[in-house]
Symmetry: C2
Subunit: 112 residues, 2 copies
DNA sequence: TGAGGTATCTCAAACTGTGAGGTATAAAAT
DNA sequence: ATTTTATACCTCACAGTTTGAGATACCTCA
């Protein structure tokens, strides 16, 4: 179980990173995150859908309704240039904090 | 400048990690964080003081008023056993998310 | 017919940093 | 002597975000 604040901090960079590889839709993104994390990160849909809308509204993503071959209507998102810039910024920030934490954790005994 | 959500996610583990080294007080913690991060992380006091109180209320820290040699009254905090356990948990969570992000940021398909 | 997976959405409640403001002491600069 | 800067703590309204609950609808398999 990942804490609320850590989820809030990591959703945006993770979504943008996933969409770098290409267009994707909400439900599938949840699956990908679960796969990539080995099951550790389990996102809720009620967190993700409003977030995708917010990112779209902010110009980081663009979404479009598309019916798949199976006949399902889905909302596919792709990343914009602005989204790419934001990802770079998010990445820089994350690495800054991670570096600080790494320094603090270096003298601590490692986990089994 | 670090985003609000990332600040929210990292404050608790950073504070607990700093207090592993020994007792400390709010104002000094802000300085230490700035030093450790090379100036990248600049915490505001209006964020930290209520947080320290919350952590104390949650049993992760204990605080006590003490007058220093210079005659200044300060509130010193030390970590509890419960705080140590929480730090371990926070650390595990952070590393999970960091690993997921690392995968997304440094894809090495040939090694997977 | 029923169960489970797919796929999206909305809403109030709870939590937390930001920006603004306040109080007080002591050293350094003007 | 006065002002600024640094130290050291506190509170408040505001905005943003996940959570938990609930809703809708379609498809597949038994």
């Amino acid at each position: 179980m990942i804490s609320k604040t850590l989820v809030a901090a990591s959703t945006k960079p993770i979504i943008l990173s996933i969409l770098i590889s290409g267009e994707d839709y909400g439900y599938q993104i949840i699956q990908r995150v679960k796969d990539i994390s080995g099951g550790t990160l389990e996102w809720s849909d009620n967190m993700l859908y409003p977030l995708l809308r917010r990112l779209e509204k902010g110009g980081l993503l663009v979404g479009r309704w598309k019916t798949s071959k199976e006949g399902r209507l889905r909302r596919y998102y792709r990343i914009t240039d602005k989204g790419r810039e934001e990802l770079e910024s998010e990445r820089r920030q994350w690495m800054s904090v991670n570096q600080a934490l790494s320094k603090l954790w270096k003298p601590l005994p490692s986990l089994e």
